[in-house]
Symmetry: C2
Subunit: 574 residues, 2 copies
């Protein structure tokens, strides 16, 4: 029997459209299989797109669901026999008590469908809120499928059900071990319908988890992940089939839709000693991250109905990286860069920005802000008894630029991209209603150090094939040495440098990572060797910037803990 | 034995400070009881403040907890014997699997403490995320306390454990019925440690639930609620003791801290027929709501370290209501009103705003924006090939005002209050980075119709005592007829009225309420008599404004479903 891994990119909440895409992928897989039986496996909640969030609470969408499933079943009637598809659905539990749904999978055959699996482990940590909507199921699911004389027994699991290895994961969800419960049931393969967002080093972890399950069960594991950007989350696909030996029998693309066929046969015996899991062929870390960010931007734009984007280009490295990502996502001709020099802007910054825009093929416009700075001073002076000074004056410049960007974007129908990084968002070195403006914070989950690293990779030979594949100039400098090697500066007052206000990013970023991703305390940082006054200061900055982050645009998540739906800190707190 | 209801206002995350406040309240109750045994009951998670949100994930805070409890126990050593306090804590479960905590209560006596209760029903709907942090407990908790010869048996529950009446609530959480399980255990009183946010008509519901439990158990119910504003949530206190007859034996204040003593005696027999629950003496709906909004503003300001606030005063009813609330919360002298007329502002608007500021004792400043409008036009024209027009031009005016407000607030160290209402936030009739600017959206959960109603109440005789109590002028017009009776207008172009773009609020608001709070579909609205084109249009507006709401300030919640932590809708979705 053939298994088709349908790594699809759904539009959240568009049950009818997602159903049509599933039907098209299923029909295509049927044609490719040329007469053999095919089971098409789609991602978790594939009919809804993951995460549907509170759309799961809308009765009208739940009522629409069986109609869409009926339509899918009807669409298989005139197809070759033996063509079936597993679809991720939200199954009403029949009770009115909250939560009312199961996170489930339906098997659709010609003319009929039925629920065949319910999720056991419901993540309610980080960005996940599944306990808000779903009840946990309490038994293992095995699907028996007949192919001529052969009866295939397929273990069915949904996403987190595979995440049961505390040692590999660091921490796991309390509850049963769905893999252990499948052991005595004698299955020929384990299928996992997933919606696992991209994260740094996460693809290798998925391979390790699938390998462990394949070893324990002595059968292959078919892992089908969603692909696509949905607000702050980027699902990188990269679906695969893992053998008990650790060998990868099939590997689909990172960060783009694909349907791949794999022939299920009698199980390969486990290797005598646990073999190393094969992850050599996976794309490099910076390539994975860059592709995820590009997908995040292109999908957010497309799913929100934007063809073109706008960003402020300062000549600094953050907006340079966002410009590269935007050009790769939408095409350079669809991206406009706005230069908004002030009297404090260095001529180098302007030249560097113009040169970068040329390398990327962006349109530019230059709108100097000095006249507006003066007009604001004149307007405000009667109210303040003086012109604005200090931080208020610096914020004002940033807000003039933010307002110009929004006026251009509004008038021209562009998506404004926000260019701030995670280090800035963490310590509040950014202006609310100013440089934070935008529909999407493209690199808001990259520390400044990561921004430097990713730009260094982009300018290296190693990035050549990726650049070519994404329509960027394949060789020569892209971000450029001038931008990559200048000292970071907000240029909001004469000769200003980030290092006037903040410690070096080489010191700051590891502290931030410990405070944010490991939830360490300043005391723990000091015990690990940090300067006590600095640790306390950084923690204070982090805490006091919470009100800014609450109003930030969605941040594309690439780390274990990003500022966004998975970061739920109070503002008025100690 | 005396029971002390300690309706406290904690600072979220300030375990040490909250512990000290609990100790002070306990010592005070001990003095008042003059030698009798006293059990002090504090709200849910009283050591942390509710909701602690992701602070519960910080290991250093969890490790601090026993130290603070030890200190509390030590603080009772030199107190009269028989003085004890129940404190809401987060108890580590001892497992590393997620979630790792219980939402629990600790009994603290002189020199020692122990966990005596763990929460059973963990809300993970609306604004609540308890499954993210907590495991549910699986058994009923009874506390036995000795007072001389008498053994008192007290049933212990935490917040949602009392919310088991599907008929009263409309919907309940799946799980056990903690009240039913206490029935055979023969208790003398039921204690409930709560953190129940204010909501329209919710106080009456709490009384009904407590009455039902008191009836079922045949004993009084002691309901102790948190008080205070914590970001978007306002906890209104209003703790009480309910007898099986429905009589209220004790009732503490709405929306301010208070400690009240009540003498526990042999249970009063239930009334032969279920008596009506006594809610006559509760404050009126508008008074409850006004006090909750005032508390929300005063606590947000105080807990974030602001003494003074700023708002834009347009002469319209929304900013007028926010001005009244701010004056009541902080004192008129701590509130500054900024008037920012444009060529499209009517002279009536300016006069009305000035007169209102005088009635409230606010400082005002007037900063006309025409020069800035022209300066932006001149700066943008080269980029756009024309000056901004249409919506872009209207947004620009709003963003000029938003930027002036932020410059004033930054320079003067004020909290900027956002003045938009729920109807506007729902349909996107508001400007991101413009009139949405602010640290707190004070009336962002009030439909425009509710704004009119609350202002009518404020100007009525019925509001006199509340106005006096909160330091507002006790009689005469407050909001004023001129402001209350003008047609709503954004005044962003000549002769503009809200009704040019939106249906009458009398039509719009009930539709919005059905779409937002009841999660109805446009089709269901049509089936209930709405115009089909209008229903589809309003739903489209609601959906498309999601990106604006994602970046809105925290909205003080007063309805069943507000835009904020309990509204989790995707942006890029259908």
């Amino acid at each position: 029997m053939q298994i088709a891994l349908a790594q699809l990119n759904p539009l959240v909440g568009d049950l009818a459209g997602n159903g049509e895409a599933i039907l098209a992928a299923t029909q295509q897989a049927g044609q490719q299989a040329a007469g053999e039986s095919v089971l098409v496996v789609t991602p978790e909640l594939s009919l809804w797109g993951y995460p549907p969030r509170d759309l799961l609470l809308r009765p009208s969408l739940l009522e629409l669901q069986p109609t869409v499933l009926d339509r899918l079943a009807a669409g298989l009637v005139d197809q070759p026999p033996g063509l079936r598809v597993l679809v991720g659905v939200a199954e009403p539990s029949g009770s009115t008590a909250l939560p009312c749904l199961y996170n489930a999978a339906a098997l659709i055959e010609a003319g009929c469908w039925r629920i065949v699996c319910r999720k056991r482990l419901l993540p309610s940590y980080d960005v996940f809120d599944e306990r808000r909507y779903f009840k946990p199921a309490d038994q293992a699911a095995v699907l028996e499928l007949r192919e001529g004389e052969r009866h295939w027994r397929l273990g069915l699991t949904i996403c987190e059900d595979l995440w049961v290895e505390e040692e590999l994961q660091g921490q796991r969800l309390a509850g049963s071990d769905p893999i252990a419960e499948l052991l005595p049931l004698g299955i020929d393969a384990l299928l996992n319908l997933s919606a696992s967002p991209f994260g740094h080093t996460k693809l290798a972890l998925r391979h390790h988890l699938a390998h462990r399950a394949a070893e324990r069960l002595g059968c292959p594991v078919v892992y089908v992940n969603q692909v696509g950007g949905n607000d702050d989350l980027v699902f990188d696909g990269a679906s695969f089939v893992k053998q008990p030996s650790g060998a990868t029998a099939l590997h689909l693309a990172c960060s783009r839709p694909q349907v791949g066929l794999w022939a299920l046969s009698a199980p390969e015996p486990a290797a005598p000693a646990p073999a190393a899991v094969e992850t050599r062929e996976l794309p490099s870390d910076p390539e994975q991250m860059f592709r995820a960010l590009v997908l995040g931007v292109s999908d957010y734009a497309q799913k929100c109905g934007f063809k073109a984007a706008l960003l402020g280009l300062s000549g600094g490295i953050d907006s340079a990286l966002v410009a590269v990502i935007a050009a790769a996502a939408l095409g350079g001709e669809q991206v406009q860069a706005l230069l908004m020099p002030s009297p404090y802007s260095s001529s180098g910054s302007i030249d560097d920005a113009v040169a970068l825009a040329q390398r990327l093929g962006l349109r530019t416009a230059t709108l100097p802000i000095e006249a507006l700075m003066q007009a604001f001073d004149q307007t405000l002076a009667p109210g303040l008894g003086a012109i604005p000074s200090g931080l208020a004056a610096e914020n004002l410049q940033s807000r003039i630029r933010g307002t110009l960007l929004m006026a251009m974007a509004n008038q021209q129908g562009q998506l404004l991209l926000s260019t701030g990084n995670k280090s800035e968002l963490a310590v509040g070195y950014c202006t609310l209603y100013g440089d934070m403006n935008g529909g999407l914070a493209v690199i808001g989950d990259l520390y400044k150090s990561t921004v430097f690293e990713l730009c260094a990779w982009l300018d290296s030979d190693a990035a050549g094939p990726t650049r070519q594949d994404l329509g960027l100039r394949p060789s020569g400098e892209l971000v450029g040495d001038a931008i990559r090697h200048k000292a970071p500066s907000a240029e909001l007052r004469p000769e200003q440098k980030d290092s006037d206000s903040l410690p070096d990013y080489a010191v700051l970023d590891p502290m931030l990572k410990a405070l944010i991703e490991d939830l360490r305390s300043p005391e723990e940082l000091v015990a690990a060797g940090a300067d006590a006054a600095l640790a306390a200061r950084v923690m204070g900055l982090l805490r006091r910037a919470e009100f800014k982050r609450r109003q930030a645009p969605p941040v594309l998540k690439v780390s274990r803990r990003s500022f966004g739906t998975g970061w739920r800190m109070p503002i008025a707190a100690r």
